[in-house]
């Protein structure tokens, strides 16, 4: 007996399987979370007598490099899903592995950036710009860590499902991918707002 319906097939009324509806509702709450912080940034910036240009404090080449790293990880993630659609499990493992490595690269670069700031005694308490910079980027980094944990599970023990229920496993990768692309999307806005303006 099936414990829960619509984990693979789509519901007739919504046209979506459960996880697809769930991830979009979850991402809606995420938009509000990051949106609240973005509007706080706007309010703080417009209310400040002086606001530093991001490039005078932050390392633009490192930020740009990290942007490329996250974009590349999004591409490898979507290739991992496409590989499952083509029934190529080895190709899936390769692409998801690349995604995880790129996500780790992003965090390593970010830690170097943070380290450089701390060496220069620049902390969240130093000024309002750094406070909102650390808040936004640390929250984003937590989402990257969450993505790494989920993707690592699907790369490792979770991938056993491919043998027993390939369609459900493919759906799971699609959902993990939608989350991961959202994390990339947030960074696409964070980079110019914090580093370049």
């Amino acid at each position: 007996m099936e414990l829960m319906p619509y984990i693979v097939e789509e519901r007739k009324d919504t046209g979506l399987y459960n996880a697809k509806l769930g991830i979009w509702l979850f991402l809606s709450s995420e938009v509000m979370l990051f949106g609240a912080l973005f509007s706080s940034y706007v309010l703080l910036r417009t209310g400040a007598a002086h606001w530093p240009q991001g490039s005078s404090i932050l390392n633009v080449p490192m930020g740009a490099f990290n942007t490329v790293v996250l974009i590349a990880s999004s591409v490898s993630m979507v290739f991992a899903w496409a590989a499952l659609k083509e029934n190529k499990f080895g190709k899936f493992k390769f692409n998801l592995g690349i995604t995880i490595l790129l996500a780790l690269t992003f965090l390593v670069v970010k830690s170097f950036e943070y380290g450089a700031k701390f060496e220069h005694h620049m902390y969240p308490k130093t000024n309002t710009f750094l406070a909102i910079y650390f808040t936004l980027t640390a929250l984003h980094a937590l989402h990257v860590i969450g993505g790494i944990i989920v993707n690592s599970y699907f790369w490792g023990p979770g991938s056993k499902m491919w043998q027993t229920d390939p369609q459900r496993f493919t759906n799971r990768i699609e959902i993990a991918g939608i989350y991961w692309h959202f994390v990339d999307l947030v960074w696409i806005f964070l980079f110019p707002v914090l580093y370049l303006l």
Partner: protein, 104 residues
Amino acid sequence: MMRGTHDIKQKIRKYWGVFTALLILTVVTVGISYLKFGLAAAIIAALTIALIKGSLIACFFMHLISERKLVYVILGFVVFFFLSMMLLIYASYFSLPGGATYVS
């Protein structure tokens, strides 16, 4: 089955195209920041490019271009509440008592 594989191969070609566009737009974003526009023009340029990049990711990588109606309805609510929140938070800037500031 053959048609499905053909569709995926077409999608993969599209993903490569989107990847190239995203890389080019990232270079343009950084390049524009070195040109000395005014702040307003710089903000408009940076956010417009970010919006284009975000749309490419959402439409192709997140498959929004071929999603079900309910997802668009959910996103419609998200846009409404997101804009309302931005406006309400920013509106508080104009309702401060005389002489008060948010940032010292």
